[in-house]
């Protein structure tokens, strides 16, 4: 087991910088998820930790030892690839034991490790099959098994569930979570799926265009995002963003006018910064933070466009002026396209961002 520390890590491909000085501390035994949209540099970061990509600047340390120039095989890590990367011509058993056999590991120890991995992942029955005779979920288990037999200090997962169907993804997510509890090893997991990040992580690292936007526990990111990007990325369905402007500031609060909703106003208490009067801002409201008319600080009328009824909860896609809002409603089965209704916003359940997306607290 080992801690992983990234200090000012930079990656350039030719003259093009894709990771701009990442600083991340991962504690021993922690489960950290790198999340972000395609091209944000999360996989590149993971591959640099693995040693599959060179580091253009900064330091990567595993277990307190700087690994910049250490061969991938000597870093004490194991990696699970998105495409599984199983050896197609070998049986499951050979896939699991290949690395150990090639390195002259004693047979008894290899057998013990392979047996243990097979038991943990419940793939004992599949040992003599080849990858093409396995389902996607089984292949993924074998790929994880191949990582387990290495008995690494750090597990790296590169979007391991993105090739599985929705049901299997949920199942494997639970298994990976259980595996982390069972092994207690540091795990770094890359995904673009914020649900995976929220459900698996001890801490999430949100990345955008090669920059670390925020690091924190899943619910901390959800409740207290550092900026508009994190607020929009974490949470499903996405947070709603309403165009607004500051019309007054007084007594530790700002009066905000929603510009697309007929001059609706609300008073938002602020602690740190007070934007100038007239400044354009954005008010963020999560779908579940729209209340019934009159319950909040500011009512806005909307017209339902489409309603998704998921059983326990419904999401109503509503139009409010030029803005489309997603409103979560319990027991709103009767709500259908074309309905007019009013939602209410509470100041304390909304977030304020400036024009460039930085949070105003």
């Amino acid at each position: 087991m080992a801690a992983v520390t990234l200090t000012n890590v930079v990656k350039r491909f030719g003259g093009f910088e894709v990771v701009h000085g990442a600083n991340i501390d991962i504690a021993d035994g922690e489960f950290v998820v790198f999340v972000g949209p395609s091209g944000c540099g999360k996989s590149t970061l993971l591959r640099m930790i693995a040693g599959l990509e060179d580091i253009s600047g900064g330091d990567i340390a595993i277990g307190g030892k700087v690994m910049n120039d250490v061969e991938a095989a000597d870093r004490g890590i194991a990696m699970v690839f998105q495409s599984y990367a199983l050896y197609p011509h070998m049986t499951v058993e050979q896939n699991l034991s290949f690395g150990l056999r090639m390195n002259g590991n004693p047979k008894a120890d290899t057998d013990r490790r392979v047996k243990r991995a097979a038991e943990i992942l419940r793939i004992d029955e599949l040992m003599q099959r080849r990858p093409k005779q396995l389902s996607g979920g089984q292949r993924q288990r074998v790929a994880i098994g191949r990582a387990i037999v290495r008995e690494p200090q750090v597990f790296l997962f590169d979007e391991p569930l993105s090739n599985l169907d929705a049901e299997l993804r949920v199942q494997m997510r639970v298994e990976i979570s259980r595996l982390h509890k069972e092994l207690g090893v540091t795990m770094i997991y890359v995904t673009h799926d914020q649900t995976e990040a929220m459900t698996l992580a001890d801490r999430i690292v949100v990345l955008k265009a090669g920059n670390v936007e925020q690091i924190g526990a899943p619910l901390d990111l959800y409740d207290d995002p550092a900026n508009r990007f994190v607020a929009g990325f974490i949470g499903s369905p996405k947070m709603n963003f309403l165009g607004a402007k500051i019309v007054d500031t007084s007594n530790s609060a700002a009066i905000i006018e929603l510009v697309n909703h007929g001059g609706a106003r609300l008073r938002k208490p602020l602690r740190e910064a007070f934007p100038a009067i007239g400044a354009e801002v954005v008010l963020g409201v999560r779908p579940e933070h729209f209340f019934e008319a009159g319950e909040g600080d500011c009512d806005i009328p909307v017209k339902a466009d489409v309603a998704e009824h998921l059983g326990s909860v419904s999401y109503v896609y509503a139009n409010a002026g030029p803005e489309e809002l997603i409103v979560e409603r319990e027991a709103s089965r009767q709500r259908a396209g074309g309905d007019h209704f009013t939602v209410s916003i509470k100041a304390e359940r909304s977030l304020l961002f400036d024009k460039v997306g930085a949070r105003i607290r």
Partner: protein, 286 residues
């Protein structure tokens, strides 16, 4: 559906007619001819005449021996060379990849007569660059065309030069279909590049290598151009005569079509048999 099929077959008819007349019929006809004595007028049915002669003909055994010798030495050497060339072509370190790919493939598009003439010049006893090079490093000249062993070697060198690049391009396609992350997984498993080649690349290339080997076996069984043009009709003294050349001599020099047909069927039978053995040896384990 039936109407559709009928329409399709009506459109196919011109092709099928040509196929039947110029492909199917010659195949059947030559098989029938192999059972006839064709040096008498009129031809007469005599099953033992050609096939019996084949079994006891020293010229046939000489040609068979030469063909098999070329097959056994040249094909494995060429395939091994093609694999090495493909791996080099696939290397990320290689610059001007397109140029090399073209250069390796170029021998296939060069005219057979032109390439044979160049080889004859290059290996000429007194004027050839090969002997000059041998001399320059202190080795004696070799008379490539007058002695059997050098002549056979020359045939093998020529065939290898002509077809190694072609096979390398096919193998390169196979190499490029192996996903990069399999190698990355092996790197993380601390498997050296050399072991990756033998334990991952070669096994995964097996189907492509088998394909190349089968094509090469069929090609070598029919080998004709090189011994005909480079070593002057299988010379010296039949030392490089192949089955293809024997067939030509019997069929088109001696006009002994029956015997030539028997030789042709023997060549085809051998090619099929060797290929089947090859496929069986290289079969995928269950």
């Amino acid at each position: 559906m039936r109407t559709q099929n009928a329409t399709a077959y009506r459109f196919l008819t011109p092709y099928l007619l040509i196929f039947a007349v110029f492909w199917i019929w010659p195949i059947i006809s030559s098989f029938l001819i192999s059972f006839q004595a064709t040096r008498t007028v009129p031809w007469r049915f005599a099953p033992a005449f050609n096939w019996g002669r084949l079994i006891g003909d020293p010229a046939f055994y000489n040609a068979l021996k030469n063909t098999l010798l070329i097959l056994v030495i040249q094909v494995p050497v060429m395939i091994a060379l093609a694999i090495v060339m493909a791996v080099l072509l696939n290397s990320p370190l290689l610059k001007a990849r397109g140029l090399y790919r073209f250069a390796f493939f170029a021998p296939v598009v060069v005219g057979e007569v032109a390439y044979s003439a160049v080889f004859r010049l290059m290996f000429s006893l007194d004027f050839g660059i090969v002997n000059k090079l041998l001399n320059s490093v202190g080795l004696p000249k070799i008379d490539w065309f007058s002695n059997v062993t050098p002549a056979m070697a020359l045939i093998m060198i020529a065939v290898t030069w002509r077809w190694a690049g072609y096979n390398a391009i096919i193998i390169l396609a196979g190499l490029q279909s192996i996903p990069e992350d399999v190698y990355e997984a092996a790197t993380l498993d601390r498997v050296s590049k050399v072991r990756q080649f033998f334990h991952i690349t070669l096994p995964l290339l097996k189907p492509v290598i088998v394909f190349c080997a089968v094509l090469s076996i069929i090609g070598t069984m029919q080998l004709f151009t090189e011994p005909f043009l480079i070593t002057e009709r299988g010379g010296p003294g039949g030392g490089t005569e192949t089955l293809g050349l024997l067939l030509y001599r019997q069929g088109f020099r001696s006009l002994n079509f029956g015997y030539a047909s028997a030789v042709a069927y023997t060549m085809a039978g051998l090619a099929i048999a060797i290929t089947l053995v090859q496929l069986w040896l290289m079969r995928e384990p269950k």
